[in-house]
């Protein structure tokens, strides 16, 4: 089991390492944005 304090690096954006948790966060933000747009449209 991985240490909860270590983060798995997926790739680098220039010199900045991007961790798996960050990518998951981006996906969640995109999904929430999409859901918000759908709900807003449904309420019109």
């Amino acid at each position: 089991m991985n240490s909860p304090l270590s983060s798995a690096r997926l790739f680098h954006l220039g010199h900045v390492p991007i961790a798996q948790a960050v990518v998951t966060t981006w996906v969640i933000i995109a999904l929430l944005e999409g859901a918000a747009c759908l709900v807003t449209d449904a309420c019109r």
Binding site: A21, T25, I28, L32, C43
Partner: protein
């Protein structure tokens, strides 16, 4: 519903469900900060929904909730730290905001300053500890016992994960109100 002027007067099921969420958060802001929720609702609601969804991302097999990692929680706590300064200055001006550090007396300035930093740390370590411990415990139990043994623990973890966003948002509201003179909560508790 805030910010949407073209909503029909007879709400659909979706609109009714969203309005329940919006009204609940609004009444929570009003009860905690003792102020009209207008300027705060976007920030607090976003925090609440984001932390809730990230915590419950654990339901998807193979996904570790981002809130079980320090960096996500640190970023959220940094947002709260900046929001405290932003709303504090917006409500009381720079002078009013700085004066909040001198309550209840001048002698408290160093302690209040230190507290403004340490409480941000406690905010993200609390969320990290609660979510990470759930993920870790389920991992350990799953590796020791069979496939179905961790299910009650997972249910308990989901409950904890649902409570944490509320705690995070309420603490964010208290921190903002603590540094915003002229808000009801501040007047009631921190003014001489």
């Amino acid at each position: 519903m805030s910010g949407h002027r073209r909503l029909p007067l007879t709400p659909s099921r979706t609109q009714a469900a969203i309005e329940v969420i919006v009204d609940t958060v609004d009444s929570q802001i009003e009860a905690t900060m003792q102020v009209k929720p207008g300027p705060y609702r976007s920030f607090i609601r976003t925090l609440l929904v984001f932390v809730f969804v990230t915590n419950w991302a654990a339901l998807i097999p193979g996904v570790t909730p981002p809130t079980a990692r320090l960096e996500t929680n640190a970023a959220l706590a940094l947002l709260v730290f900046l929001a405290v300064i932003w709303f504090g200055i917006r409500v009381g001006g720079i002078g009013g905001y700085l004066k909040t550090f001198a309550t209840p007396g001048l002698i408290m300035i160093p302690l209040n300053f230190l507290e403004s930093i340490t409480r941000s740390f406690s905010l993200f370590v609390r969320l990290f500890g609660n979510v990470m411990s759930g993920v870790f415990l389920i991992g350990v139990v799953m590796s020791l016992a069979g496939l179905f043994v961790p299910i009650p623990l997972m249910a308990l973890d989901l409950l904890t994960d649902a409570v944490q966003p509320y705690i995070f948002a309420v603490l964010a509201m208290v921190f903002i109100a603590r540094c915003s003179p002229r808000l009801g909560l501040y007047k009631e508790n921190f003014m001489n």
